[in-house]
């Protein structure tokens, strides 16, 4: 099934308390090499047939306007997977 994958992460200069908690837990478990953890979203849009160029553009717009909050998040990737 064709998909468009949208990846959204909290902005770099923003605190990510959940990520920080995971980083601390991993360090306590002995993974000192992991300096930080950030937790974002991976959103799959499913299509019946492979999306057209126009639908891919629409998906990028949806990613920016609707699936992410531009104040606190960045869309880091929009990938088509047919």
């Amino acid at each position: 099934m064709p998909k468009i994958i949208v990846e959204v992460m909290p902005k770099a200069d923003l605190l990510d308390p959940a990520g920080k908690a995971v980083a601390n837990a991993l360090q306590r478990k002995g993974n000192a090499e992991i300096t930080n953890v950030r937790i974002g979203k991976r959103i799959e849009l499913h299509y019946e047939v492979a999306p057209t160029e126009e639908q891919i553009e629409a998906a990028k717009q949806i990613a920016a306007d609707f699936l992410s909050n531009g104040v606190i998040e960045d869309v880091v990737a929009v990938t088509v997977e047919n």
Copy 2:
């Protein structure tokens, strides 16, 4: 900065109410071509230096044991980004 990206999605046979709500909203907005939406997690593990093979293996183990819940989620990808 080197990263390992862990991608986690709800299992295919599991309901994803948030994803369903987004799919309904997108369809109402006129994107009838989007048949379904699934929302998962994208977790970045940050490293000071490029992770060794052993650290990559450890990260895969962390992804399976710690960053995902095997009952309801699948780790769909573990990618190194140097």
